[in-house]
């Protein structure tokens, strides 16, 4: 029964290897600059000291909303992924795969729109 948890162990191993590996690689090959800002605890770009009621650039909210949208849309892929194997067994796997490609294509058009309209630009 415990073997069914095998994939999770593999996932944990991959995640750990990815995280630790990235740190090691950047330590080995990265250019090193030392500044005061580097010593700060990471706070998503805002200053970590001072009052919490400061005004952030509107871009934070824009990107946050866009992230939520695409994040939540990808939620729809989960029931698809659960059901797809059954369809593949029934011999209509290709059609079902084409359907999800269509869904992703619609999301892709959305992303292209956001990109083209400059929703992802920081240097404005």
């Amino acid at each position: 029964m415990l073997t069914s948890y095998g994939p999770i162990l593999v996932l944990i191993a991959v995640v750990l290897a990815f995280a630790v590996g990235n740190i090691i690689i950047s330590e080995l090959f990265g250019k090193k600059t030392i500044s005061i800002a580097k010593g700060d605890p990471y706070e998503c770009g805002s200053r970590p000291v001072g009052g919490a009621r400061l005004r952030l650039s509107i871009h934070f909210y824009l990107v946050a909303v866009l992230f939520i949208l695409f994040d939540v849309e990808s939620l729809l892929l989960i029931p698809w992924a659960v059901a797809a194997r059954g369809f593949a067994g029934a011999g209509v796997g290709g059609v079902v795969f084409a359907e999800v490609l269509g869904f992703v294509a619609v999301l892709g058009v959305g992303l292209a729109y956001v990109w083209r309209k400059g929703g992802l630009r920081w240097d404005r």
């Binding site: 509107i58 939540v72 939620l75 029931p79």
Partner: protein, 100 residues
Amino acid sequence: MGLGAYIAVSAALFAIGIVTIITRRNVLYILMGIEMILNAANINFVAFNRFGDNGLDGRMFAIFTIILAAAEAAVALAVVLNVFYLFNSVKPGEADLLRE
């Protein structure tokens, strides 16, 4: 825990949402109230599905409700932002050009 407990929670959430919408003047709170109502419906869907043993309808409905809520929140925030630019306020009472 029985079905009744879930329904009680969802009914309470629904009521809180309605009261929030009615009493608050700030549109962001109103949006929160709307989200609460949607989540109350979600609790219902999942609980009825769990206790009714009727396929996946309820769970699918819950997933789609989550997506609806996100989409609605995104559009609503964009609208609120636009209003904030033009009126310098997020209170519907202060946007009052349209009246008889």
